[in-house]
Amino acid sequence: MELINTIILPSDDQSLSKDIFTHYVHNEARVLLVVLGKDDEAKALVEKAAKLTGSAGGPRVVIWARKPTQIDEETAELTHGPSVLAAVPPDDDRSELGKFDPKVRAFALSLDDEIRDVIKTDEPVNFLRAFTAFAKAEAAS
């Protein structure tokens, strides 16, 4: 499959994965959709989201962290926008949101490096959901 505007973090090199992730989050002024995991649904989401990034070099980028634990610390440092907090069910452990949570399939980051949407594992994987995540990040950028 051809994935435009998509960065796949190397599963076998944690250090490089951290560097790439940190670079895109803090140095690239892009709206990011970070997809976590390597199951079929994660893969399907990456494929669909990549189609919605538009032309190569556009403002949307998909980061696929097939091994999410590689970027646990970096993710934990990210702040969450108010809309994300509102979207997280009360029984969730919000303090753990930034770390790899098996309930989180993906999250969208605004230009200001804030998490603006979280796609949960129990949500359908489709174009509409991927678009919504990007739109929420862009609305807050």
């Binding site: 669909k48 919605l52 032309s55 556009g58 489709n126 678009f131 609305a139």
Partner: protein, 608 residues
């Protein structure tokens, strides 16, 4: 049903700031208003602008007339007592507006995206893109959270279809979303319209052009079967004087000639000009004054006569009543005296008893006569009261006539001023839909029509267009209620050139010529470039400024052979006043001039 409409209302808060930063200001007029009908003007120079309510359009423009179906449903529902969910209508309204604004903003976003793609993609570049993207994205979130019936599935399908052929551009994704939202709103309104149609509700929309009091219906495609009007273009460049201006120029030539000999005041005769002006305003001053005086005399005389007549009748009545009572009382006293004396003289008892019957009969007869007389007097008094009331009413009517006589000229002047500032007042109640105006089911009301003013026949600056939207139920015309009325004035708003005759008061800079006094008077013509206002009636009807060229037939050397003077001029107040600087090519003299284009009547000598 999911309360999707509540979500839209909540999301509106997001949009207010967000979308506003990216939406072009050229959204349709009355975006936030409850008006069903809105107008957009497309002028001859390809300018496009919304027409605010009651304002002004260029006389040769095309009007694009939009009818908002959601707002129509709301008004029809109110008018025909249909129980629509007002909350649902509110939110359909919002979703429709949000989508329209966002779709209007997409060209800007597209350009911003192009700039970003060709940039170095620094943070500044990203921020510049974000400034355009934020509002559209907020609008998208508002629509996404609205849960419009059927919207999500359609939008998802649209994205999937587009993605099947490759990358989907970001601007396209947003366009798909707002187009699908618009379609979802249309589907919802169609369902509501079907409810109105089932109840036999009909809608009519018609227009009229009102020119100098005459009115004729307009053809609005989709709403009637009137034929299109005569094609008539109001020329934007006119260089020839019309008949009235030619007559004016002739008058100015006569006045100029006499003014050069006797002075301006003698030539124009201010008193006569004042009377002529009043006559033009429809005020016959002398007749008005004479009328007021005659009516005042009439009322005074009538009042005095009424007072005298009523008083005399009242005295007669009172006198007659008093006399009748006195006669009756006199007879009674006479009887009392007779019978008092009889009681002291028993010898006359027999004759008294014999006369008693006839005396009592006489007293009874007189009492009855007095009663009848009093009744008659009361009746006469009643008649007098009626007469007095009638006379009083007559007096009141005469007094009202006097008030009217005094008020009429004032009202005429006020009306003239109103026309200057706000246009002609039209009694729209008298504008009735003709047989050729369709009665449309709500669901089949066109959401847009066009009116090319060029195809509305002869018209002139200041003429007005009136539009009416009405709804009724069944076949009974009595059920028809007017939902909206719109009045639009037409002026030559776009730049145009028009001629004006002028009495030129030229002041030569050099004193080597034969000009006596400060001014030399001459007839002249100006060709003025003007541009009207879309906002101010007063500007168009009163200030009406222009800039142009003045050509005058001067005679600075006094040889009765006119020299050509040409100058630049500024005009104000419908060309009544012009100021300029010119050059006399015959005598090589430069001159300042004041041009007057006030409608003067002929020279003094002709009218005396």
């Amino acid at each position: 049903m999911i309360a999707w409409h509540r979500a839209v209302a909540t999301s509106l808060v997001l949009l207010t700031g967000g979308c506003g930063t990216t939406s072009p200001s050229s959204g349709s007029s009355g975006t936030n208003s409850a008006r069903v009908v809105s107008f957009t003007e497309r002028d001859e120079d390809n300018g496009v602008q919304p027409v605010p309510r009651g304002h002004i359009v260029d006389i040769n423009s095309t009007l694009v007339i939009d009818l908002d179906r959601v707002k129509l449903l709301r008004k029809v529902g109110d008018s025909a007592s249909l129980e629509f969910d007002q909350g649902q209508l509110d939110e359909l309204d919002v979703a429709q507006r949000v989508s329209k604004q966002a779709l209007d903003a997409l060209p800007l976003l597209s350009r911003a995206m192009d700039r970003y793609m060709s940039s170095a993609k620094t943070r500044d570049d990203a921020n510049a893109l974000s400034a355009e993207l934020r509002g559209v994205a907020n609008a998208a979130i508002a629509v996404l959270t609205s849960d419009l019936p059927g919207f999500e599935a359609k939008f998802g399908e649209r994205l999937a279809t587009a993605a099947a052929t490759g990358q989907v551009e970001i601007v396209d994704q947003y366009r798909f979303l707002f187009e699908e939202a618009t379609d979802a709103v249309d589907r919802a309104t169609t369902a509501l319209a079907a409810q109105a149609d089932a109840k036999g509700v009909f809608v009519q929309f018609g227009g009229w052009i009102v020119s100098r009091g005459a009115r004729r219906p307009l053809h609005l495609p989709g709403f009637d079967e009137y034929p299109e009007g005569e094609r008539f273009v109001v020329e934007r460049i006119v260089l020839e004087l019309d008949a009235a201006q030619q007559a004016q120029l002739k008058t100015y030539a006569e006045i100029a000639k006499q003014a050069n000999e006797q002075g301006l005041l003698a030539a124009i005769d201010l008193e006569r000009q004042g009377r002529a002006l009043l006559a033009r305003l429809g005020i016959d001053l002398e007749a008005t004054i004479a009328g007021i005086k005659a009516k005042a005399d009439e009322v005074t005389t009538a009042g005095a006569g009424l007072a005298d007549g009523a008083a005399a009748q009242l005295v007669t009545l009172i006198d007659g009543t008093k006399r009748d009572i006195d006669v009756c009382l006199g007879f009674a006293r006479q009887l009392i005296g007779k019978y008092s004396a009889a009681s002291s003289n028993p010898g006359d008892a027999l004759s008294l008893v014999a006369g008693l019957q006839s005396d009592l009969g006489e007293l009874l007869a007189r009492s009855r006569a007095l009663e009848a007389s009093l009744k008659d007097k009361v009746r006469q008094l009643g008649q007098l009261a009626v007469q007095l009331t009638a006379k009083a009413n007559e007096l009141g009517a005469e007094a009202a006539k006097i008030v009217q006589l005094v008020r009429a000229p004032i009202e005429t002047m006020i009306a003239q001023f109103r026309i200057l500032t706000g246009g002609q007042q039209i009694n729209t109640d008298t504008l009735e839909f003709g047989e050729k105006v369709f009665k449309l089911a709500v669901g089949s009301v066109p959401t847009q029509t066009e009116l090319n003013l060029i195809n509305t026949g002869q018209r002139r600056s200041g003429d007005q267009l009136v539009f009416k939207l009405a709804a009724g139920k069944g076949d009974d015309p009595k059920t028809r209620r007017t939902l909206e009325e719109h009045t639009i004035s037409m002026f030559q708003v776009l730049p145009h050139v028009e001629p004006a005759a002028a009495l030129v008061l030229a002041n030569p800079e050099s004193r080597t010529n034969a000009v006596q006094g400060d001014f030399h008077y001459a007839p002249g013509m100006s060709f003025l470039l003007k541009s009207g206002s879309r906002k101010s009636m007063l500007y168009n009807r009163f200030f009406d400024p222009g800039i142009g060229i003045n050509v005058a037939a001067l005679d600075f050397d006094g040889d009765d052979n006119p020299e050509l003077g040409v100058g630049g001029t500024l005009s104000m107040f419908r060309d009544w006043v012009q100021l300029g600087y010119g050059y006399n090519f015959g005598t090589d003299d430069a001159y300042w001039f004041l041009g007057l284009s006030i409608p003067l009547s002929g020279v003094a000598s002709q009218s005396r």
